[in-house]
Amino acid sequence: MKKTFLNKIARIIKNKNIISNSETGQRQSKSNYKSFFNNLRKDKFALFGIFILIFFLFVGILGERIAPFSPTQINRDEQGKVLVLRAPTLKHLFGTTNMGRDILSMTIMGTRVALMVGTIGALTVTIIGTFFGLVSGYYGGWIDAIIMRIVDILYGIPLMPSTLVLIVLLGANIWNFLIVVSLIAWRGTARIIRSQVLSLRERPFIKAAKVIGASPKRIIFIHILPNVISLVFLQMTLTVVYVIMTEASIAFIGFGDPSVLSWGQILQMGFVTGSARVAWWWIIPPGFAIMFLCLGIFFFSKFLERTMNSKFRNFT
């Protein structure tokens, strides 16, 4: 069973779509790798987005190797005086904090945190949301009603305040944050996947599979899931932005993990020490980092959406 599922995914990625084979009898025999890259080159925004993502990925992976100083190191000048709140110089490209720490190094180390928190959070949210969306959409009936009732209640709870309250109760820990966000944020993914599954459920090839006697597990994971997987990837990229923003906001209010140096944490230190009054070099880099990362992901997701849609538009 696993082998067939992977083959199915591989075939869809190579754009030999399964739906068209059984429904219309037409076959998309050309591989679309070339047109994928041609589309990429034409769309300036997507190129920009991918470039930004690759850049941040490199910074995140290389981490300590490109950071000129350690982020917690207190820097002193030649006389031994601590470099408190110095404007950007050649040595400290983004200046120093009120404790003499180099802001460039802090921002670089924050990249790793942001990428990890974003990916892990988005992964868990997407897995939970997709699972519930698939089950709820396929089965219908009382299972659907219960899951949708839970989703409605979760929609009623605003994410920021409840994350705040739960983190205060559970402790300001990055893992608690991920747990809390995964508990609440799957509502959006579940709803979107469910509506897609609802429309897929009536397709002839699903009905044919049912008639043959395929078990629901097989139908959901081998027939329906590969056809919603593009939507799943799209949702995952948007969720990464959502999780990064939420983590930055929670850290900014002061409830972030104190042992984790995220961009929101850097901004929080700048705000709370009142240094924002003088030190523009403290506030601007982490904010730009968040902005560019989220922009890159948005552009990339727009491009993804366009390619996925164009692939499937041929077959409906």
Partner: protein
């Protein structure tokens, strides 16, 4: 239609009860001494025992829960540990302040967003499509608190035009006439910067939504009929397609009011705006559980009510849904 509304109201009621229950047990089942929040840990054992007996903390959890729910139906959500006032009074004062920031920001952002979105959907402006999308995405990917800090640094510290915190200048003598509390120059002066930041972050959604729905209406038959009739472009644009495209925007307007109540928590924290969000943050910092509980319940309730309003509005404005 009436049956639909009553059914939805009952659903909201039930959901709110579930939320209240979940929040209640969340706060109670977390390990930790509840008396510490009230007394501090330097009090004698007898004082602690007195507090436990007075608040009924030695009764089994289900009896405590039952008493709590009985009080909830009377409207009593417990007393704040910090203020020594009823929790609903503490929150009630702040809701007005939150609304005073929320309503103008959502109204303005939707007003300008729909206008600019409608204008930008006009064929001649399609060259600017990329610029518009870039600008809106820029604002959408900027963290609100960062934009707020930049705004404060520019307008407050560097230029000195606008205040950087609070809703009023200290030393303000309160007027007894309720409206005069909010319609005075000092309040508007304090309101400007948070409002600016909020509107610029929130303008993206109505703009893009309006633009998309307008472009969709251009394909419809009745628009082509208007064009063949010989109406001017302005009339077609603003009299016919605008009205029809407005429908999803109106529903997203009420949804936006619901969701921005929770999202405003950051702005209120940065600008020291004495509203509901900031009160919840402070209550959680001070371990003031009744206020934090009630604040969360109010937020959840308002979001659910706004969702219901959005659905009703949609059914009311679009006759096609009513007939179904």
């Amino acid at each position: 239609m009436f049956k639909y509304i009553t059914k939805r109201v009952m659903h909201i009621f039930l959901s709110l009860l579930i939320v209240i229950t979940v929040v209640y047990f969340l706060f109670r089942l977390i390990p930790g001494d509840p008396t510490v929040a009230l007394l501090g840990d330097s009090f004698t054992l007898e004082a602690k025992q007195m507090v436990i007996e007075r608040f009924g903390l030695n009764k089994p959890l289900r009896i405590q829960y039952w008493n709590y729910m009985k009080n909830v139906f009377k409207g009593d959500f417990g007393n704040s540990f910090y203020y020594r006032l009823p929790a609903n009074k503490v929150i009630g004062n702040k809701i007005v302040n939150t609304l005073a920031l929320l309503l103008p920001s959502v109204l303005l952002s939707y007003f300008f967003g729909t206008l600019i979105g409608a204008i930008s959907s006009y064929k001649l402006w399609s060259r600017f499509e990329n610029i518009i999308i870039a600008i809106t995405l820029f604002f959408r990917s900027t963290p609100i608190f960062w934009l707020a800090m930049l705004g404060t640094m520019l307008f407050s510290y560097k230029l000195g035009w606008l205040p950087n915190s609070g809703m009023r200048t200290p030393g303000y003598i309160e007027s007894s006439f309720y409206l005069l509390k909010f319609f005075n120059k000092d309040f508007v002066w304090h309101l400007t910067l948070p409002l600016l930041v909020l509107v610029s972050t929130r303008i993206a959604v109505p703009l893009l939504l309006m633009r998309t729905t307008m472009i969709e209406t251009f394909e419809e038959g009745y628009i082509k009929f208007c064009q063949t009739k010989g109406l001017s472009e302005g009339q077609v644009l603003f009299k016919h397609s605008f009205r029809n495209a407005l429908l999803p925007v109106v529903t997203s307007f009420s949804l936006a009011i619901g969701t921005s109540i929770g999202g405003q928590i950051i702005i209120e924290y940065i600008f020291g705006w004495p509203g509901l969000g900031r009160e919840i943050v402070l209550a959680t910092q001070r371990s003031d559980y009744p206020v934090a509980q009630f604040g969360l319940i109010v937020l959840a309730g308002s979001v659910m009510i706004m969702n219901l309003t959005a659905d009703i509005l949609y059914a009311f404005l679009d006759p096609r849904i009513r007939i179904k």
